[in-house]
Subunit: 169 residues, 2 copies
Amino acid sequence: MAPPPSTTISPIVMLIVRILTFISLLISVIIIVTNTATSTVATSFGLIDVKIKFSAFYAYRYMLATGVIGMAYTLLQTAFTIFYVTTGNRFGGDGLAFLDFYGDKVFSYMLATGAGAGFGLTVDLNRNDDSADSFLNKANAATSLLLIGFVFSAISSVFSSLSLPKKAV
Amino acid sequence: MAPPPSTTISPIVMLIVRILTFISLLISVIIIVTNTATSTVATSFGLIDVKIKFSAFYAYRYMLATGVIGMAYTLLQTAFTIFYVTTGNRFGGDGLAFLDFYGDKVFSYMLATGAGAGFGLTVDLNRNDDSADSFLNKANAATSLLLIGFVFSAISSVFSSLSLPKKAV
């Protein structure tokens, strides 16, 4: 018996994982962008309140960038997977399986570094200042969701590795 | 013609990539552990100099942990690959190919989060205090090497994905 051209992972399961990735990243991005804190600082005008946004920290900017790029990629892959579910054929045939394979690898690694950067900064900021707790808790929530999105994208990466066509190897 | 049981990636290339991973992680770990800074702080005894080590920051501790765990895993895989190079057979046969596949995925993702955490903290610390430049430059060097080690481990992960036996899929 000849081996099948690809694995028997259900396209429905692939689709669900893609959608879960997208939702996790979307919520993460919304939390990052809307997260603000107010800090009282001493200026030459006396004490004034300044608003602190995620963009004050490079790590959160990078996190946002990975989240948005990851969303765009996941949306594209979701469209391909919907095509697969509805027609029963992979979009672009086996030729695109390698693009899936390398794409999933690259973007899931990117999300892993984004989640790492978010936690790397937040965990150590957290010890400095109790007044920023709400801001940092929201940053932690956003990073956790990015981490969850990364885990789902890693599952997609396992699927696309297992789905590599045999002949092209 | 029946498809071959695994890809034609040379075991020598696999071995070289494993060794490069190991060396990058080793140098990274050495730099993290030996990196110290002196900071003058105000105490009830007046101004005294305190020594700051990597362990003062959770992100660097996590980085060290991923580096050390990554080294242990890479060393094991290097031994397996040397076995492959010398005997021409994969250690444990095709059964262990899946262990390689999932192991490489997990550990390369772990290194990606470690590198992310290191940069996430260092980039934002860097803006605060010029006196800590030497410490943070060394931290950046260590994180860069961890990132290089991650890239090599990602290459190993691509190899182990492509080397998955066909029959077991």
